[in-house]
């Protein structure tokens, strides 16, 4: 068993809590008289499977693609959020540890907090999307008689602006505010646009090309003191895409 696997087990056991269930597994490491090293113990990232949806329902996926294409619209500068894979990115994130809040402190009691205390609801990010996207389509129906994805770009923008400013209050379960749901979507969309493409977004390095970020390069010694000179090389991803 590689050390990487051990570590994942540790995290999994910590989140699920029955620590004693792991009694009998390997004891914790005692290291003395050597620098421990083993081959292939690292945890390189694995590119996501690009096909299909892992978390979103087909209806949610349509809504999400419409949203990311308004947050980052296609235009003469680049493809939009949908073309960049932002909805796929969010789907894979929600299907993984981010969506399940594996890292977070999720013990009760859950109380309504102050803004300085951060999100205090019991819903995971995956649960927040399920709830929020449902409420968004409900709103679109009540206002226009159609799902969000079927509205015109202008109607979609008007609704998104309303969510952002607080003018529109979606009917959400307690603990989730409309604005915090909007901020979650906006933040995740930006992540998808600018993260390494192995996570499903930033297709064709579109986000990096837009701003001029060279990506996963690691040696700029020859350029640091070339002041005010454009960097000559284009972006490269972790898996070597250029």
């Amino acid at each position: 068993m590689s050390r990487g696997h051990n570590r994942r087990h540790f995290l999994a056991s910590a989140s699920a809590l029955p620590i004693l269930a792991f009694a009998g597994h390997a004891q914790a490491a005692s290291i003395s008289g050597r620098l421990p090293w083993e081959a292939f113990a690292g945890e390189p990232p694995r590119p996501v499977n690009p096909a299909g949806w892992f978390y979103f329902t087909p209806q949610e996926a349509l809504t999400m693609e419409a949203i990311v294409d308004r947050l980052i619209p296609p235009d003469s500068l680049s493809v939009g959020g949908k073309g960049a894979g932002c909805a796929v990115f969010i789907d894979r994130q929600l299907a993984g540890s981010f969506g399940k809040s594996t890292r977070l402190y999720m013990k009760g009691p859950f109380a309504k907090g102050l803004p300085t205390q951060g999100y205090q609801g019991a819903l995971t990010p995956a649960g927040r999307y399920r709830e929020g996207l449902r409420a968004l389509d409900d709103y679109a129906h009540s206002r226009h008689g159609k799902n969000f994805a079927q509205l015109s770009p202008e109607q979609q923008d008007e609704i998104l602006e309303g969510l952002e400013s607080g003018k529109i209050e979606l009917k959400l379960v307690s603990g989730l505010s409309t604005r915090s749901f909007f901020e979650l979507m906006l933040g995740n969309t930006m992540e998808g646009f600018f993260a390494d493409p192995l996570y499903g977004g930033n297709k064709g390095l579109v986000g990096w090309k837009l701003v001029g970020f060279p990506g996963a390069r690691y040696d700029y010694r020859d350029h640091v003191d070339k002041h005010n000179v454009p960097y000559p090389r284009g972006p490269v991803s972790i898996y070597g895409e250029t």
Partner: protein, 588 residues
């Protein structure tokens, strides 16, 4: 039932910067040392792999190397009349996790605090009168800069710090930090190459009569072999530094400066993925007997030791004292008790964002501590007699990274999404720079640490509770710094200048800084400090508490340089004083 283990000379909680330094120094003195570390073993080639470390989402956003709140969270509130709630994710600060601790993910600034910082109460009272500082709970540290000078030197040479002296044995050196305390010798390596942004800032600052200098960086300007014989590489300015481990052996950490030597010693043992639950005391309550910890499998152990060292992150040191009933918890109502007292942070709200046209700042060319700084408004380097605050800030302009999830500035008034946002972000990325003021944080009676009455960790132990807001004095200081940033920013002649201000109501969500100090402070008086001048507990004489938890206040500087110096100072006291005559090194 805890399994009783054979005795060790020294038992250390935590194998980060301070744990590694103490272990190295005390194994050299011939002691048998065990370090009990909550997180996993980590090394450069395996865990900070150059092939995939440049992953902003994984490391900077999803915080892969950091402590997860599921393992240990903390609660927070701004004042005692609020109900504290758990920070369900860490945001404002990010504690480290695993071997190397927060010294893995740090930027690499290696500052020395000013001589006046160590005697702040005495210094400010003498210069401005007692009334000026009466709203603060200032204390002296019980140790002087001159006593610590050789310890700062040791840490700088351990880490190979790249910088330029400004005060060599009392002689001012132009181009260095002319406000620093006297140092016996220059830095071991010369400064990093300054990027375009820092160079413009330095030119402007000089024209304004200020004294810019390259910040001392543990991102090395050239290859270096430290006094332990460990080789480090030259920094490549890759821009994946803070929140990342260095894949290039060029950012100092326990991994790159100590562990290759320490780990090979027969009289040292690291136990990883083992979490300390409690320090057990002898029946008289005056000495520690052992440490109880639990391994990954859930098995509990009792590890007896002659000396116990708390070398966790400062906040964890304080919590472990409170959980173990060591010392008296601080009570803000009565002002009595010391454990949890004088918790401070960093006042970072003063900032300036400048946007130009037609520039190529190449923000992705960066290193954690690649920065030009002025200390003209730092600490008590400037006269406060006509000002309405004490304290100050280091003002810096540098290039740490241009990672685009976290860094995609736009002009004021730009929408946060949509076609206008997209156009603005494409135009601004290469045309923007920031100037920041890292402000001091001074103690007040109502800012403190204690155990939360409601929320528990996965072992059922109370979480640490942080009660903190920015004191009025520090907000006035920060407003003054915003004014200085505006002056400097205007002089740099940008197309647009936006100046930010500090606000009341410390917010635990957006990242600010992992510079949490105090709570187990050092001093000469057991009524106002938890540990004596050697970082030895006043109450439990074989327990030393090492870290930024010892700071009586935080300066406007990154704390690691002073933490490293205090680690060497404590190691020297244990080796040269305590071992010869175990017991209280200072009479209470």
């Amino acid at each position: 039932m805890a399994k009783l283990l054979p005795r060790k000379d020294v038992v250390i909680m935590g194998l980060g910067w301070t744990g590694a330094i103490l272990a190295q120094e005390l194994t050299e003195a011939g002691l048998n040392v065990v370090a009990i570390e909550r997180g996993p073993w980590r090394d450069t080639a395996t865990d900070f792999n150059i092939g995939y470390m440049q992953d902003e989402l994984r490391y900077a956003v999803r915080k892969d190397l950091f402590l997860s709140p599921v393992l240990e969270a903390m609660t927070m509130r701004n004042s005692a009349d609020q109900a504290a709630l758990p920070m369900r994710d860490y945001g404002s600060f990010l504690p480290g996790y695993g071997v190397g601790g927060a010294g893995v993910h740090w930027n690499g600034f290696v500052w020395r605090f000013f001589p006046s910082d160590f005697q702040l109460k005495t210094h400010l009272t003498q210069r401005y009168g007692a009334r000026r500082v009466s709203e603060l709970q200032l204390e002296d540290w019980g140790v002087t800069y001159d006593e610590l000078e050789h310890c700062f030197d040791q840490f700088e040479y351990l880490t190979g710090t790249s910088g330029k002296a400004g005060n060599l044995k009392g002689q001012t050196v132009e181009g260095g930090n002319v406000f620093e305390g006297p140092r016996a010798r220059d830095y071991p390596t010369p400064p990093l190459k300054m990027p375009y942004s820092s160079t413009l800032f330095m030119e402007t600052a000089r024209n304004l009569g200020l004294h810019p200098f390259p910040a001392p960086a543990a991102n090395l300007s050239q290859p270096y072999v430290n006094p332990l014989g460990i080789a480090m590489g030259q920094c490549t300015y890759c821009g994946f530094c803070e929140r990342f481990g260095c894949g290039n052996y060029s950012k100092a950490s326990a991994q790159t400066t100590i562990l290759p030597v320490l780990m090979k010693k027969k009289n040292f043992e690291a136990r990883t993925e083992c979490e300390v639950l409690k320090i057990n005391l002898h029946p008289d309550g005056k000495t520690a007997k052992s440490v109880t910890y639990v391994d990954r499998a859930g098995q509990e152990y009792e590890q007896p030791g002659d000396i116990v060292l708390l070398c966790g992150y400062g906040l964890m040191n304080v919590r472990m004292m409170l959980l173990s009933g060591i010392g008296k918890g601080y009570d803000p109502a009565s002002g009595e008790g010391t454990v949890g007292r004088n918790y401070c942070y960093q006042t970072e709200g003063a900032s300036a964002r400048l946007i130009f046209e037609g520039k190529h700042f190449n923000p992705f060319i960066g290193a954690g501590a690649l920065s030009a700084t002025i200390d003209d408004f730092q600490g008590d380097a400037f006269d406060h007699s006509k000002l309405n605050f004490v304290g100050g800030a280091g003002i810096s302009c540098g290039s740490s990274n241009g990672r685009p999830i976290g860094y995609h500035p736009t002009p004021q008034g730009t929408p946060r999404w949509g076609a206008k946002w997209k156009k603005a972000v494409a135009e601004t990325y290469q045309n923007s720079l920031g100037i920041g003021a890292q402000g001091s944080s001074y103690p007040v009676r109502g800012n403190y640490l204690d155990l939360d009455p409601t929320y528990k960790d996965r072992f059922g132990r109370p979480l640490l509770r942080i009660t903190f807001d920015f004191p009025d004095n520090d907000l006035r200081m920060s407003d003054y710094m915003s004014d200085q940033l505006a002056k400097i920013g205007r002089a740099m002649n940008p197309k647009e200048l936006t100046v930010g201000h500090s606000r009341r109501g410390w917010n635990s969500v957006p990242y600010q800084t992992t510079h949490n100090t105090g709570g187990a402070t050092m001093g000469a008086n057991p009524k106002t400090s938890a540990v004596n001048r050697y970082l030895q507990s006043w109450d439990v004489s074989n327990l030393f508490v090492i870290g930024a938890s010892a700071f009586q206040q935080n300066a406007g500087k990154n704390p690691t340089g002073t933490v490293g110096a205090l680690a060497y100072w404590a190691a020297e006291a244990i080796r040269d004083r305590y071992l010869k005559n175990p017991g209280a090194l200072v009479p209470a």
